[in-house]
């Protein structure tokens, strides 16, 4: 048993080295651009209420599901360029692409909107690929994924029209948006080159600003490469009243679905109005490693899973 375990870990060497080099390159990228690396508490008294994300409790507090709230408080206090690589925890999430404990790269930029973050993604991921020996393209499950910029941008509305059996509005009305997105659209996104899926229906961007010219659209994007969802970004909402209403809506959804209740993150709400217009993004570090290690299983790019402890 012990021997088999050591053998399993030893066989991970390539993936663990790839992962370490990737993280070193990510840090280099952000330091060169003048970002401050921050560390915020993993254990917090109140997570951002989300309809479909469950926390893991830690004594009377919670393990963070994302470093969002504390990083935004730093943003509000006058740190306009910050990044963090940290562990996040989400109860019940385990599958080929999910671990209940996983690594997020999160960064924020004050004074800009989410379009700037698309550019960050392009430069960052191309740079990481080059560092790993993939210049301009990399192999993925027998395909070749090209990385030349700019990467394609497709709105949620167009993606549904192009790939799905119904429109996004109809999917929302019939309460099957997530099923259609996950089963019909995601597997087709970014199969030749990375794709930004953007302009989400407003109700699907709980912490995002709505588009000035169309209040039905949230300024949110997700980055897909080879069918893998890699990053989620917003032009951040800075209206504290509106944010409170959306949190209340999420808490109401949770009550309806008999999910655990969370306290309102009051401290965060009280500083939100001081936050400058900004954009923020979370990128799954394990998922990025899966891409470059050319594996479909997240356990191939971490040393330990919950099952192996």
């Amino acid at each position: 048993m012990i021997e088999a375990d050591s053998w399993r870990l030893a066989a991970r060497a390539d993936a663990l080295w790839l992962r370490a080099r990737m993280i070193r390159e990510i840090r280099r990228f952000f330091f060169e651009m003048g970002f401050l690396e921050v560390e915020t508490p993993v254990r917090i008294p109140a997570p951002a209420p989300e309809s479909h994300i469950d926390t893991i409790a830690s004594a009377e507090w919670f393990l963070q599901t994302s470093p969002e709230l504390c990083m935004k408080r730093l943003l509000a206090a006058g740190y306009p360029r910050i990044f963090q690589i940290c562990k996040c925890f989400r109860a019940g999430e385990r599958g080929d692409r999910h671990l209940p404990e996983f690594t997020i790269l999160e960064w924020y930029r004050g004074g800009t909107d989410y379009r700037t973050l698309m550019g960050d993604c392009e430069v960052l991921i191309k740079g990481v690929a080059r560092e790993l020996g993939f210049d301009g393209a990399f192999p993925r499950q027998g395909r070749r994924i090209r990385l030349e910029v700019p990467w394609e941008r497709i709105t949620v509305r167009d993606a549904f029209l192009r790939f799905a059996s119904m429109t996004d509005a109809e999917a929302l009305r019939r309460d099957c948006f997530d099923e259609i997105l996950a089963c019909e659209i995601e597997p087709r996104l970014g199969m030749e080159a990375p794709v930004f899926l953007y302009e989400y229906p407003a109700e699907l961007g709980a912490l995002a600003r709505v588009k000035e010219t169309d209040p039905g659209i949230a300024e949110r994007f997700e980055l897909y490469i080879a069918g893998l969802e890699l990053a989620n970004a917003f032009s951040e909402l800075t209206d504290a009243e509106e944010q409170r209403r959306r949190f209340e809506k999420a808490l109401e959804d949770r009550r309806r679905d008999h999910r655990p209740a969370y306290p309102m993150p009051e401290r965060f709400l009280s500083t939100l109005s001081q936050m400058p217009p900004s954009a923020g993004i979370a990128l799954g570090v394990d998922r990025l490693a899966m891409l470059f290690a050319d594996t479909c299983r997240i356990e191939d790019v971490v040393a330990f899973t919950p099952e192996s402890l």
Partner: protein, 187 residues
């Protein structure tokens, strides 16, 4: 009762009064969206397969399966008849449900019948059975060309490879899981 988070490969659940086994399972969750549990399910009675995606609010009844020791009686029109020796209740299994076990159905052999609400689903035999060889070519001593094994037929009609020294009328032990020869049985 199971919830969606209990779903995994191999789990047996009841849907609309039929037992299903999950043959493939994956957890998917788009970004901030709902957790989805994608399953491939196989109906344990008729073998039909289909895919279905469940949500975390879905609940399932366990498929309550029993095993009952029954005796093999006879085969008629493609159906295999077994009887419970206590209640004298009889059940019939199809060729599909019996599967490979049909090769080892000795008269009156006792087997475990898998049942779902009194409906038979499958059969498991003892791991080892002893059978009489009914047809075998004679062993030509010193015949190196014929190799290390030879084909024989046993009393159930099943054919397998055995060592060349096994003769017609002898008893041999077979592993019913692999269908392979194990040893010669004296007496």
């Amino acid at each position: 009762m199971y919830t969606a988070s209990d779903l995994r490969k191999g789990l047996r659940i009841k849907i609309e009064n039929d037992p299903y086994i999950i043959t493939e399972f994956n957890f998917v969750k788009p970004g901030k969206g709902q957790a989805l549990y994608r399953c491939k399910l196989k109906n344990m009675i008729n073998g039909n397969q289909f895919e279905r995606t469940f949500r975390s609010v879905d609940v399932f009844e366990a498929a309550d399966l029993q095993e009952k020791r029954m005796q093999y009686l006879y085969k008629e029109e493609g159906k295999y008849c077994f009887m419970d020796n206590q209640s004298y209740e009889q059940v019939f299994l199809s060729e599909d449900q019996v599967g490979e076990a049909k090769n080892f159905l000795l008269d009156n052999i006792e087997a475990e019948i898998l049942l779902f609400e009194d409906r038979p689903l499958g059969i498991s035999l003892p791991n080892f059975i002893d059978v009489v060889v009914t047809k075998a070519d004679p062993w030509a001593k010193g015949d190196s060309v014929s190799g290390n094994t030879k084909p024989v037929t046993v009393q159930t009609g099943y054919q397998l490879q055995v060592p060349p020294f096994i003769e017609e009328g002898e008893k041999i032990r077979i592993d019913t899981r692999s269908g392979e020869y194990l040893t010669r049985v004296k007496g």
